[in-house]
């Protein structure tokens, strides 16, 4: 469903993503893990078609910036930003029009009920709390029934009910053959359903694991710290060597 090949993204002199390669198949939940500034959000934005990059990103065989790719793709950003002057229902209607959906009202109603937003239909975007804005962003993302969903820190700021709903929806989407990418710091939140994980540091994928390869027994948290800490130690040792080397010179 998604193929990322040799993606490199530079912001002036900062290398945010360095030769990133991975695939996500239909019915797979792929998790991007890594410390702050590792490049997770950047690769998500590249896949969503918001950034320029070198390399190739294909969504179901289509170039990720093409209209065909966008029909299959949903992006749930970390910071929700609804239109302040559109109501909740009008946001959904706008999405339905933008994606040329027919018979969407039933789906929209179900989504609003799942996220306990059905009584907020007439509220303007500017009147919603941060959590409500995030829920609206999720409803808008899910309405077109995308086949690839990009979640950037989806559970931040949500109440326990909404977190449970997101988890259920993620599993439902997977079972229906959807591909899902989640970028998160909250390891516990994805521990129960991840299929593949890519651990990122300094713009690179340092390690990739599949649950089916037996990593499940190891635990996501142990795996994360094992890889991140060993890389950090290696980096520190390299820096010390460089410092010693320059002192000797």
């Amino acid at each position: 469903m998604l193929s990322v090949r040799g993606v490199t993204k530079k912001y002036a002199k900062v290398l945010a993503n360095d030769n990133i390669n991975f695939d996500v198949s239909s019915g797979e939940i792929s998790v991007l893990l890594g410390p702050n500034g590792a490049g997770k959000s950047t690769i998500i934005k590249c896949i969503a078609g918001l950034l320029k990059y070198t390399g190739s990103i294909k969504v179901n065989g289509h170039d990720n910036k093409s209209i065909a790719a966008k029909r299959e793709l949903a992006y749930i950003p970390e910071v929700p930003a609804p239109y302040p002057m559109l109501t909740v229902w009008e946001h959904l209607e706008f999405i339905a029009r933008a994606y040329s959906l027919s018979d969407w009202t039933g789906d929209a109603q179900v989504l609003l009920e799942r996220f306990e937003m059905d009584d907020k239909k007439k509220k303007l975007g500017s009147d919603l709390s941060k959590g409500m804005q995030q829920k609206l962003s999720l409803c808008c993302g899910l309405l077109p029934r995308p086949r690839l969903i990009l979640f950037d820190e989806p559970m931040i700021g949500l109440d326990p009910h909404a977190i449970k709903q997101i988890k259920d929806i993620i599993v439902e989407q997977k079972n229906a053959g959807g591909a899902i990418i989640i970028s998160t710091h909250m390891l516990d939140s994805v521990a129960e359903f991840w299929d593949t994980t890519h651990i990122m540091m300094d713009g690179r994928i340092e390690a990739s694991r599949r649950r089916s390869d037996g990593t499940e027994n190891e635990g996501l948290e142990d795996l994360y710290f094992e890889i991140v800490e060993s890389k950090r130690q290696a980096k520190r040792a390299e820096q010390e060597n460089n410092t010693n080397g320059s002192k000797e010179n």
Partner: protein, 529 residues
């Protein structure tokens, strides 16, 4: 286009309906609209040959248009060099950019919304209809010409900003090139202005009018082009209309074609700016200052070796503020305001010489400016921050320490500004020193006011009550100081009049001390919000 059309119509509809919940805003809009209609009707009713119509020099309008255009040029080039401009909102990024809608249609939507906003911002010209009619004899055609020139200037300005961002982003050499071109242009303009000033018998007014009325000014980007378009429409000069339209449209089309040529790649070019504006708006909503919220993004500072914190207890607060100050300004305590106020002092000093009235006038103006600067200085934020509550030191000591750096600033400013004033105007050093002490004393009382406001004003839930109380406290505290100045200056001879600054300063320092004594425990009494 169905979705974009729906988006535009629904937003407009809801914006109007939302006014039902904001009656004050609705009344404001109604009054504003009625005033504009009234002004237009009045200007139509009064015939062009009426005796009431004065024919002021149209070069005033030419000059205003050129000045506005040059101001916009500087602003848009500046934003192009830093974050670029944007035609979109953060909501557009989340909902439109990722939707299966052609990027060219999205670009058209961005252009149309920006054009609408530019048109709305030009309403202030309609507000001047009455003035333009009665003082310049302008009719509807002249006003429409002015509107057209202004709107085109603002719209193309946004595009120019994007173009400069595209050209310079991540390329320091190109940034330097644009900056150098702007500086050369500025210096060139200043030289021409100076030569004209000499030619016009050293009259600044005549020199400015002469430059604004010259033919060559029309070739200066933005201000000049706008003037060429306006004069062309006014005089029916086809070549001027065509030339200026070509300049504006050429710039605009070049940017639009560049944006539209690379699939959807302009998304990234506007993303930085859109995110920057979104963060600033979010910060304003959360009642932080924009500067604090976005400073990290825009002005990343390098941490120099050897810059570190010192001291323990309340000294750590002072040292932290000093460290931040060193990182914020190249020379601690000296910023843009210091330079601007010193320039004002130099001009007033050179023009008015030893005039007591001019000196007091300038003093009053600078103190007034200082009041607003103190309102926005970091002290008010500092005493509201959680960390200061937690430091295990007495409240009064903490407040005093947190205020100390803020107090040094007006002292340094006073020293520089009034030294410049004395040197430029030949004022005697003692008078300048007395004014400087008065300025620093006013600064101290404003800092005291920031503290006292936390006790009296901040607890008020109503924003209007807050504002009224704030002004009342200011008046109550500062009026006696002003009375002291007036009374003592009435008693003293002209040559000793500056001594009246002494009771003023003494009063300010004493009241500041009293405020710290009585309200210095503000941290123990107030609630963290």
């Amino acid at each position: 286009m169905k979705a974009i059309g729906y988006l535009i119509i629904m937003q407009m509809k809801n914006r109007i309906l939302a006014l039902k919940r904001q009656p004050a805003k609705m009344i404001g809009y109604i009054i504003f609209t009625l005033t504009i209609i009234g002004l237009i009707v009045l200007s139509i009713v009064v015939p062009r040959d009426s005796e009431d119509i004065k024919l002021a020099d149209p070069r005033i309008i030419y000059l205003a248009l050129v000045a506005l255009g040059l101001f916009f040029l500087t602003i848009y080039v500046g934003s192009g060099l830093s974050t670029g401009s944007t035609l979109f909102s953060m909501s557009d990024v989340g909902f439109l950019f990722t939707a299966p809608i052609s990027s060219k249609k999205i670009l058209l939507y961005g252009l149309l919304s920006t054009f609408g906003r530019s048109l709305l911002s030009s309403v202030f010209i309609i507000y001047q209809v009455f003035n333009l009619r009665f003082n310049f004899g302008f009719g509807s055609s002249e006003i429409i010409a002015l509107l057209a020139a202004y709107t085109v200037m603002v719209l193309i300005g946004q595009l120019l900003s994007i173009a400069i961002y595209l050209f310079t982003n991540g390329k320091p050499q190109r940034k330097r090139l644009v900056k150098t071109l702007m500086i050369i242009g500025g210096i060139g303009l200043a030289i021409v202005l100076y030569i004209t000033y000499i030619q016009e018998a050293r009259s600044i007014k005549n020199a400015l009018y002469s430059v604004a009325d010259s033919g060559w000014i029309g070739y200066i980007p933005f201000g000049g082009w706008a003037l060429m378009l306006f004069k062309g429409l006014l005089e029916g000069h086809v070549l001027n209309i065509v030339l200026s339209t070509v300049f504006f449209l050429g710039t605009g089309l070049a940017v639009i074609l560049t944006l539209a040529s690379g699939k959807a790649d302009y998304y990234e070019d506007v993303l930085v700016s859109t995110e920057y504006i979104f963060k600033a708006q979010l910060a304003m909503k959360e009642k932080k200052t924009t500067v604090h919220a976005v400073a990290n993004e825009k002005n990343r500072k390098r941490v120099k070796e050897g810059q570190r914190l010192k001291g323990t207890g309340v000294k750590a607060i002072i040292q932290r503020q000093l460290l931040e100050l060193r990182r914020r300004n190249r020379i601690p305590f000296i910023n843009g305001y210091t330079i601007m106020a010193s320039l004002i002092a130099a001009v007033v000093g050179a023009k008015a010489g030893g005039s007591t009235g001019a000196a007091f006038g300038m003093f009053g103006f600078l103190v007034y400016m200082q009041y607003f600067l103190t309102l926005f200085n970091p002290l008010s934020t500092e005493i509201k921050s959680p960390y200061i509550f937690m430091i295990p030191e007495p409240a009064r000591k903490k407040v005093l320490a947190a205020s100390l750096v803020s107090f040094i600033k007006p002292c340094v400013d006073a020293l520089i500004i009034f030294t410049v004033f004395a040197v430029a105007g030949g004022t005697d050093p003692l008078s300048a020193l007395l004014l400087a002490i008065g300025y620093a004393a006013a600064g101290s009382i404003f800092i005291g006011l920031a503290i006292i406001n936390q006790r009296i004003v901040e607890g008020q839930p109503n924003i209007f009550l807050k504002a009224i109380l704030g002004i009342l406290v200011l008046v109550f505290i500062i009026v006696p100081a002003v009375v002291f100045v007036v009374l003592t200056s009435m008693i003293l001879d002209e040559q000793y009049v500056f001594i009246s600054m002494l009771p003023f300063s003494l009063y300010c320092f004493l009241v500041t001390g009293l405020i710290f004594l009585l309200a210095g425990d503000v941290l123990d009494k107030m609630e963290l919000k």
